[in-house]
Structure formats: structure tokens, C-alpha cells
Amino acid sequence: MQLFILKRIGLAFLVALFVSFLSFILLRAGGDPAIAMAGEGASEADIEFIRVQFGFDRPVMVQYYDWLSGAVRGDFGQSTYFSSTVAELIAERLPVTLKLGVAALIFAILLAVPLGMIAAVYPNSIIDRTALGLSVLGQALPNFWFALLLIVVFSVWWPLLPPSGNTTWQHFIMPTIVLGYYATPALMRLTRSGMLEVLRSDYIRTARAKGLGPLQVIGKHAMRNAILPAVSLSTVQFGYMLGGSVIIESIFALHGIGQLAWESILRADLATVQAIVLILSLIYVGLNLTGDLLNALLDPRIRVT
């Protein structure tokens, strides 16, 4: 077990390192960042000044090493657009995104798990078909368009909710729905298939045979095992949601790191973009690791591999 944990942690560390290196190279492969930072109409001398100032004239590996050794100490350098350090910016914006991500995940689970369970208990019923139809619709709905539709309906036609900003909890309702619905179909399908499988198993027949009511059989015996795969999927979904926040936060003007990322991309603020890419990857790798370890803890068969 200890060896298994060590192996997994080592692998996660390697993945994080590789991803940070890859994204570092990618963001510098498109040409000279100094030209983009200087903006249009900058003189050759200005560009040269920026190049030396930010160290873009040094070999990429040296730049990467410098950046990485800063990053592990929490120093991501100075933002070239905002007048603060990247670390301060992120510390200020990350809580908003995490709040949104957690709210969206809770929304998705509250919608997907009951729907998936009911669909499995009554297969091919109207509820099952409706749930399946909803998941097909949900997967095809472009999230940015869905966000605009919600704004048209709930802020324009029927002014109930604020269209942008993040000062009150009402500001989070629409972003939560848009971000959360996207994870719902996958979670629901997994809950449904998990539940179907469990309901066929022997211990459920035993529970029924000893005279337990349907609520106890489903709620107590079946549910615990049925939602295990959905739980491990939701850790992955949470990572995807944080990534998707780039689009949603820009539309709703929510000041999280998603919107920060978009702003810094438009302003060629390389240091900030780089740091956000690293943080989102780290969160994803961390969640995956947690999910793996939790699974191994709950299911001893996994540890062998």
C-alpha cells in the first residue's frame, strides 16, 4: 500500500512537471513574446529593452528553470499588465473560481444523482426517457450560448438575476447552472448504469428477501455502491469545470481566475497566463491523485496493479 501511494505521488509529480514544461514551451513557440508585449508600433529599441528586461534573450531552458524555481516558492513574477505580482492576482481571484466550481459541482450532483437513480429504478419509464433526452440535449448545448440565453430570459425579459458581477450570491446562480449542467449528463449516465448493475446483484435480492422496504433497499444498500463510480468521476469533472470557467467567467464578468486568464491572454500578459495554466493543471493532477488514492483505500483490488 505504501509503495502504491509513493508510486502514484511520484507519477503525479512527473506529470505536473512535464505539463508545466510543455505549456511553457507552447506559449513561447509562437514567436517573440517581447514583440507582443511591446504592442503595435513599438520601436526596435523598445522591443530590445523588453527582451533584455524580461530575459527573453536567454535560452528557453534557462528561462524555464528560472520560472520554475520561482514558481515552487510561490513567486510567479510581476504581471506585465496589472500593477501587482501574479501571486497576488491569483490569491485575489482564485477563491471566486473555487466557489463557482464547488457550487457548480453540487448543482450537477444534486441534479444527476437523483435523476440517474430514478431512471435506473424505473428503466424505460417516462422518467428514464426524459432523463436520457435531457442528457442528450445537455451535451449538445454550447455553454456560452446557454449563458446568453439565460441572460436574455432572466435578466432582460424577466429581470430576476443580475447579468454580471460577483458581489452577491445571486450573481453566482446563472454561472453555476451553466457550468454545472455540462457535467450532469456524464454523472447521470454513470449513476444510472452503476445503479442498474447493483440492483441485479445478489445482496440486493437478499435485502429484498428479508423483507426490507424499497426505500431501505435502494437508499441504504444499493445507493452506497452505485454512486462510487460517479464520485470518482466528479473529481475529474471538477477539474474540467475550473477549465471551463474561462468562458463562463468572461461572459458573466465574474472576477475569478478564468476571467483573469482571458484578460491576460488578450493583453499578452505571459507571466499571468503561465501561472494560471500551471495552477489549473496542478489542481487537476491533485484531484486525480486524491481520487485514485481514495479509490484504492475503498477498493483493495486496485492496489495490486
Binding site: L26, F144, L148, V152, W262, A268, V277, S281, Y284
Partner: protein, 301 residues
């Protein structure tokens, strides 16, 4: 003459059906597959015939005819069936040419990611061992990268255009192909017909192309449809944020972005391209789900 017991006549005759016929039998009764297939076929026909159907050019401006509503709304007319945008361009014509763009981007990105992902997956699954470890590591790393963010940042760095969008999506969305190709290859790696091919001394490239690939193609086709839908959605999001296809090209995502400024009084400017996008993606998804049910009904839940 058969004795008339009345029983034999009701029995199907499965032995007479070829595998292709069996698939067709299943396809004919799968409503999702039929719906998705019809929808996609319709959109493809409209896209190909765009120059014949479209009453105007996609970038043809008429500044005296700006922001005309669709024909069914107040003030609309049959001159512009779906109205015009903020530059007086015919919305119906732009929608038709936009379908071409979405399909071209979806197909090309899917082909690139399909080649990358399938190659990696087959190599990993077939050889196993350290090669498999290395490629699995690549897949895990790719899954750990925030796709939307990386696509946006790289598009900004390389300068956004139709070609860069296709390349970026192609090089980002190969993970699904790799995962499926790898697991399907592992499943059939030790089958007797592959052993026989190896024993015959068949060169590796031929073994992969003629023995292995045909046996995992069903699974890959399903991934292909889903990744194509994924690419189309991502392109529209990139274009919506201003870092995808550039104006005046009629990308549906771009049309929604341009219509966003008129959200209050002309909501149809975002309704029309959004609905088109939604229908295209749903058709492809239904087709993909249908293909999976038809080619591997035992895996259906």
C-alpha cells in the same frame, strides 16, 4: 414442402444475414441513429449547396438594410428570410456558409487528432511495456492540461486564423482516440489471427493496417463522431471569445459574439446561429451514440 406446424415460420433466419445486414437491421430500428444521421446529412447537403441556395454572398454588406428581423417577426420580409446583421449582411446566407466552416473545422481537426491519437494508442497497446508506459504518461499529461485555456493562449500567441484553429484543436483533442485505440488493441493483441499474421512474417505496418485496424475501427468511428462534435463546440467557443476564426468569416460562434451586443432588442441574432450550432452538435452526438449501440449492443447500458 415443409410440414405446417406453424412454429418454424415465426423463427428468424439469422444465418442468412451478413454482418453488414445485421448492422443495417439494427440501424433501421434505432431512432437516435436515424434522427442524427438525417440531421447531419441535411446540414451537409445545405453546406455543400450553399452557393446555390444562398440568396446573397456571406460577406455582402448592405448598410441600408441593417438589423432587419427575420421574416416571421414584425418588420421582417421575404427578402431576408432570417433578417440581416449589424452590417446588413443576409443572415440566412451567412448561416449556410457558416455550416461549411463548422463542418470543415470539425472534420479536419478530427482527422488530425484521429491520426495522432490512434497511432499513439495502437503503438502503446500493441507493444506494451515501456512504450505503453511512456504513451500512457503522455495521455495523462494531455488530460491534465486545461484545454480551453491552452487553446485560447496558443491561438493568441500564434495569431488566430482558420488554419491555426484547426491545428490547435487537432493537436489537443487526440486523447479520446488514444485511450480507445489503446484499450481496443490490448483486447485483440493476443488473438489467434494476429498470432497467425505474425507467424507468417507479415511486416508490422501491414499487420496493423490490414489485421488490427479493421478490427478496432468501429470503436474509433464512435470516438471520431464525438471528437468532431467536441471540436465544433470548441471552435465556436474560441471564435466567440475572439480568438478563433476571424471576421468576416461567418463562423457561428463569431455570429453569436457579434449578435451579443444586440442582446436586448434583437435576441434572434444569437438565437439563430446558436440553434444551428446546437442542432449540428446534437445530430453528430446522436449519430455517434447510435453507432455505438449498433456496432456493440452488448456494451449498451
Amino acid at each position: 414442402m415443409q410440414p405446417a406446424t406453424g412454429l418454424e415460420n415465426d423463427l428468424p433466419e439469422p444465418a442468412l444475414l451478413s454482418p453488414g445486414q445485421v448492422l443495417w437491421q439494427r440501424a433501421r430500428h434505432h431512432s437516435g441513429f436515424l434522427l442524427g444521421g438525417t440531421g447531419l446529412a441535411l446540414i451537409i447537403i445545405l453546406a455543400i449547396a450553399a452557393p446555390l441556395i444562398a440568396p446573397y454572398g456571406p460577406s455582402e454588406q448592405d448598410l441600408l438594410q441593417r438589423l432587419k428581423p427575420p421574416m416571421w417577426a414584425d418588420g421582417g420580409s421575404a427578402i431576408h428570410i432570417l433578417g440581416t446583421d449589424q452590417l446588413g449582411r443576409d443572415y440566412f446566407s451567412r448561416l449556410l456558409y457558416g455550416a461549411r466552416l463548422s463542418l470543415i473545422i470539425g472534420l479536419s481537426a478530427m482527422l488530425i487528432s484521429g491520426i495522432i491519437g490512434s497511432t499513439l494508442g495502437i503503438v502503446a497497446g500493441y507493444f506494451g511495456g515501456r512504450i505503453d508506459l511512456a504513451i500512457t504518461f503522455l495521455i495523462t499529461s494531455r488530460l491534465s492540461m486545461p484545454v480551453v485555456l491552452i487553446a485560447l493562449a496558443v491561438a493568441a500567441v500564434f495569431g488566430s486564423s482558420l488554419e491555426t484553429v484547426i491545428l490547435i484543436l487537432g493537436f489537443l483533442l487526440w486523447d479520446g482516440f488514444a485511450v480507445v485505440a489503446r484499450s481496443s488493441t490490448i483486447q485483440i493483441r493476443d488473438t489467434e489471427y494476429l498470432l497467425a499474421a505474425r507467424a507468417l512474417g507479415m511486416p508490422l505496418w501491414r499487420l496493423i493496417l490490414t489485421e488490427l485496424l479493421p478490427n478496432i475501427k468501429d470503436a474509433l468511428i464512435v470516438v471520431a463522431t464525438l471528437e468532431m462534435a467536441h471540436a465544433i463546440l470548441l471552435e465556436s467557443a474560441l471564435s466567440f471569445l475572439g480568438l478563433g476564426v476571424q471576421p468576416p468569416l461567418p463562423s457561428w460562434g463569431l455570429m453569436i459574439a457579434e449578435g451579443k451586443d444586440y442582446l436586448l432588442f434583437e435576441p434572434w441574432l444569437i438565437m439563430i446561429p446558436g440553434t444551428a450550432l446546437f442542432m449540428l452538435v446534437m445530430s453528430i452526438n446522436l449519430l455517434g451514440d447510435g453507432l455505438r449501440d449498433i456496432s456493440a449492443p452488448e456494451g449498451r447500458s
